[in-house]
Amino acid sequence: MSVLVYTESEGGNFKKAAFEVASYAKEVASMLGTTVTAVSINASNNEELGRYGVDKVLNVSSGNLEQFSAKAYAEVIKQAAEKENATVVVVGSSIDSKFVAPALAVNLNAGYASNVVALPESTAPFKVKRTAFSNKAFGVVEISSDVKLIGLSSNAFGIIENEVSAAVENFEPAVGDENFSVHVTAVDKATDKVSIADAEVVVSGGRGLKGPENWGMIEGLADVLGAATACSKPVSDMGWRPHGEHVGQTGKPVASNLYIAVGISGAIQHLAGINSSKVKVVINNDPEAPFFKAADYGIVGDAFEVVPKLIEKLKEFKANNA
């Protein structure tokens, strides 16, 4: 028996989310009185997982798997789970992890709970809390299958250090050609930018910014905070920003520690996507904007005056706290 965690990496390095799912798996393993095994695909810093409580790493290194393939990755994780006799498997909530998980659930005959936000309330019966109704509610689900698959929401649990020494073992699963029937022909990815999924801070702009030419200040604010940039739906619909930046019910979910909304009204569909962010700051010139009801901190004022001043203050703060 063990808890298996899939620790996602990119370009040979673990994503921040990998440390979070590992931290979570460690706690679940403690509840069950067992150990944590991670399965890592083409990562070079496997030992690092020990810092987050991983006892053993199954290291898969394969040229075939350099390009993400949901079916092949599901097969790898399944074989790792079987090898370890895992009763709980934990994955993250990145786009790729959410792509892999349903197939993995079928392959393992596992009940799958996605968007999980907390540790199990009990392990017998196995109950966990997840978000539902576009973040307007939570549902406690009971997983009754022998193997349980948990998709942990990003930034829901946090990263917890729990130093052990991780034994790294090479693992060579048999992954047949039939798993590579979707052929990637082009990847178009801004690698230098913080992605919304990984970001601890997200700075988002709405229609109140009037046009794409004004995004410089949103990027400036994101720069000082090391944040990802995002936008409301009309902004991407009008082509001011790429579709991938649109957050909300029909866009990306944001679960950052800090979400700063500039010139966004706070329509219910927008809030649905950002409700699980911990601290929300709103800058809007309309004191009646619904976002003020959802926000923790707010400034009623013109974005074109407030944002440049905020950037300046943050720069001062950083200089003083460097």
């Binding site: 109704f133 406690v140 689900v141 923790d296």
Partner: protein, 248 residues
């Protein structure tokens, strides 16, 4: 080409969410139901194939009789046939098992589902359906073309997008981007009249084990009031974010 579009019947996006029976059931009182937004993009893309390349389009929902108006709406938009699997859609795997049978019986080349439904947000039905049927699968699909037996798909990835090719049969988990929002269709009178005459077949469910069950719902704790900071004193916001919220 034979296309199946999976339609989830979900509360309208602006619905207030309430629960009944000791917070164990979603309270449908006063709730308006709609086609799941992600599915609506898929349905419109399917209409495009029908009109531009020639294709038949069926729609399917797993649900009770109360979901029929949603299926009729899909027929009014232009789908040819509707299928309803007569069972309460309790868990994603159960739904995928029902769809597996519909897909196998119907011999579809292309199945378009939504990336996730906006009620339970499971994000699992299309992927599970693909695993059960053995079809190729692309999730978070934002672009879809088919030529002969090969599809070219674009999917969203964290921080960008990716293009791939795959042979049919193919299942996609679709979302906005499959078509633009301005292309979404509202049923017109003629469509509504025609939809009344189109077939809506009700089929019995197959047995499937239920692995995951929602036993309790909760609403988030009410939020405290917003702390307003004067635009003349922006330093205070930086201070609050550092000392009080501890996020910078």
């Amino acid at each position: 080409m034979k296309i199946l579009v999976c339609i989830s019947h979900v509360p309208d996006t602006t619905s207030k969410i309430n629960f009944s029976e000791g917070d164990t059931k979603f309270d449908t009182n006063g709730v308006q139901f709609v086609i799941n937004p992600n599915d609506e993009f898929g349905l419109t893309r399917a209409m495009w194939f029908k009109e531009k390349q020639g294709a038949s389009v069926d729609v399917v929902n797993v649900g009770g009789a109360e979901t029929e108006p949603t299926l009729r709406k899909a027929l009014a938009i232009g789908a040819d046939n509707a299928i309803r699997v007569n069972a309460e859609a309790t868990d994603g795997f159960f739904v995928a098992k029902q769809l597996e049978k519909v897909v196998k019986d119907g011999g579809y080349d292309l199945v378009i589902a939504g990336r996730e439904s906006i009620d339970y947000n499971g994000g699992m039905v299309p992927g599970m359906l693909a695993a059960l049927t053995g079809a190729n699968f692309v999730n978070t699909c934002i672009g879809l073309e088919v030529e002969g037996d090969t599809a070219t798909v674009t999917r969203e990835v964290d921080g960008g997008k990716e293009t791939a090719t795959a042979k049919l049969p193919l299942i996609v988990g679709g979302q906005k981007g499959l078509v633009e929002e301005s292309d979404l269709r509202i049923p017109n009178m003629r469509g509504i009249m025609m939809a009344r005459k189109k077939p809506l077949t009700v089929v019995d469910p197959v047995a499937a084990e239920e692995g995951v069950k929602t036993v309790q719902f909760e609403k988030p704790a009410p939020k405290g009031d917003v702390t307003l900071v004067s635009p003349d004193n922006i330093g205070e916001l930086v201070d609050l974010l550092h000392n009080e919220a501890k996020v910078i």
